[in-house]
């Protein structure tokens, strides 16, 4: 409790990390997925998590949002330790937006209802106000005409953009994007990535797990290469993609290049 004032102090400084992880460990049925993960995400920056399937990228994001309980270590959001069991987890999640690989839109609700659910039920925003903001966001993403449709009438790219709007509708402090283009047809990837680029320009703090290396190189301020449950190498996009120091990073990137994805 003694670090409460300190936390407030820290969060006022403009470069204090929005998200910080220290020595995070997470195992599933005895096998460690995250062994000793450290991470710092500065405000208004984009962090890309890269690495092979099963390297722990998604798990890291789920832990940051408290969808998974970590075994050891600690996570701070704006200086507040959110892994403290006394913390109100629902209140923490309200400050973090998540977009999933499989969109996870609610199939029984229209696009507009999907987006306004959390503002209305969680944040107590009035219906009219919530819908106005939702339409504003939808218009900006070119989905204004789709507000009354059900998700199954939309293409994958449209669904994923709606999912992004849904996450943004509560004005989150931090946005977590979990391989958001992995389930999309190649020709639909672009429209989703454009949205992420625009968000970066607006100063949204984001952490994204991705297999789109070209995109990670363009958009990320910080790139973390995960391997065997640790952040094996981190640096600017230039450093990681231009001149990786670790042999494993080099090998991973070489495989990506060989498969024509960079």
């Amino acid at each position: 409790m003694s670090d409460a004032p300190k936390a407030a102090e820290v969060s006022e400084a403009s470069d204090a990390p929005v998200l910080r992880m220290e020595s995070v460990r997470k195992t599933f049925g005895g096998s460690p997925v995250l062994r000793d993960v450290d991470l710092e995400v500065a405000p208004h920056t984009v962090t890309a998590l890269i690495g092979a399937s099963g390297s722990g990228k998604s798990t890291l994001l789920r832990c940051a949002n408290l969808l998974e309980e970590i075994d050891d270590g600690a996570i701070w959001l704006d200086g507040e330790e959110i892994t403290d069991p006394r913390v109100d987890q629902d209140a923490v999640r309200r400050r973090i937006g998540v977009v999933f690989q499989s969109y996870n839109l609610f199939p029984h609700m229209t696009v507009l209802e999907n987006i306004t659910l959390a503002p209305r039920r969680v944040h107590g925003v009035g219906r009219a106000e919530a819908e106005e903001r939702a339409r504003e966001l939808l218009d900006r993403l070119g989905l204004g005409a789709r507000a009354g449709e059900y998700p199954d009438r939309l293409s994958g790219g449209q669904q994923q953009r709606v999912a992004i709007v849904r996450a943004l509708a509560v004005r989150p402090r931090l946005l977590l994007l979990d391989e958001i283009t992995a389930a999309l047809d190649p020709e639909l990837v672009g429209e989703v990535l454009t949205v992420v680029r625009d968000l970066k320009d607006e100063g949204m703090t984001m952490v994204l797990a991705t297999h789109e290396m070209g995109f990670a190189r363009d958009v990320a301020d910080q790139v973390c290469f995960l391997d065997g449950g640790v952040v094996l190498e981190r640096g600017t996009a230039g450093e990681i993609f231009g001149d990786p120091r670790q042999e494993r990073t080099r090998r991973f990137l070489r495989r990506i290049v060989e498969s024509g994805r960079l």
């Binding site: 309200r94 609610f106 659910l117 959390a118 039920r121 849904r166």
Partner: protein, 304 residues
């Protein structure tokens, strides 16, 4: 185009299968031949079905009518005279069955949902609630309805409790509700468990509490998916309302019973049975229709 269509158009079914459009598509001889064959085959199938139905009907008729006891059976079970006498009374009794269905149906849906939700509650505080709900469904799903009815309808009045009803209709309705709530609770629970965990995760990640996620995201999807089995249980409840007659309530079955007791002719039972069937058929058709509609939605790529 129209000129092209004239010729195959003579074969009827072709028109719908033709992709219209602006290209100068002319069906190939191969296609026409294939479709001719399919039509011939389907005509043949219809013919066989009609013939086999006719043969079956004739055989059944001959067997029944030539049975040694047929004249007697006809008189006892299919007497037009007794049918005319029984029908108004049976219909009068049926009104009780319909009211029981409506009231019990509503009570069953509410109680079933409460039990299903109770079984999904997490946390140590709710252990007794969970355990009770589980015990309830285990017990009432296993207990034969007729025994449940006898215990409630005959046992409760025997206690001679002050202020507790001895009305066989109310008690019978209570027994029906007890049993059917257990069935319906399981239907709802299956529905809740069939909603993919990622839906709950998405709801929670938006900041919804566990209860809000259940209320706004999980339950609406669960209920929608379970509409066909729920309607099925309602059809079943509808005919089982006839069992309240064992306590003496004058429903359609009991009305028939009274006439049978007096006349020793069983035709009123047949009338009552047919009336129940007539009542359940619309319900069954509704179930089929709803199911088909939902299957169609799923086939279109819906995730519900």
């Amino acid at each position: 185009m129209t000129v092209v269509k004239q010729e195959p158009g003579r074969d009827g079914a072709d028109d719908s299968g033709m992709p219209g459009g602006d290209d100068d598509y002319v069906p190939s001889a191969r296609r026409l031949d294939r479709e001719r064959y399919k039509r011939a085959r389907s005509r043949r199938a219809t013919g066989i079905a009609a013939l086999s139905t006719l043969v079956t009907a004739v055989v059944l008729y001959v067997v029944v009518v030539n049975a040694p006891g047929w004249p007697r059976t006809k008189e006892t079970f299919f007497s037009a005279e007794y049918a005319r006498e029984a029908l108004p009374k049976v219909l009068e009794g049926l009104w009780l069955n319909v009211r029981l269905l409506l009231v019990c149906g509503a009570a069953v849906l509410v109680l079933g949902m409460l039990i299903a939700v109770a079984r999904t509650l997490r946390g140590p505080v709710f252990f007794p609630v969970r355990a009770l709900a589980a015990a309830y469904t285990d017990f009432f799903r296993g207990l034969p309805l007729i025994i449940n009815l006898m215990i409630v309808v005959l046992g409760v009045p025997a206690l001679r409790l002050q202020g507790v009803t001895v009305d066989p209709v109310l008690l019978g309705g209570t027994a029906l509700t007890l049993t059917y709530s257990a069935y319906v609770a399981e239907v709802f629970r299956a529905g809740i468990e069939s909603v993919h965990p990622s839906q709950r995760a998405a709801a929670r990640s938006l900041g919804l509490t566990n209860r809000q996620a259940l209320r706004h995201v999980v339950l609406p999807q669960a209920v929608r998916r379970q509409v066909p089995p729920l309607l099925n249980d309602l059809v079943s409840l509808q005919k089982d309302t006839g069992l309240v007659s064992i306590g003496g309530a004058i429903d359609a079955v009991r009305a028939a019973d009274i006439i049978v007791g007096r006349s020793l002719n069983y035709t009123p039972y047949i009338v009552a049975g047919l009336v129940f069937v007539a009542l359940t058929i619309p319900m069954t058709r509704l179930t089929d229709w709803v199911t088909a509609r939902m299957d169609r939605r799923r086939a279109q790529g819906g995730t519900i």
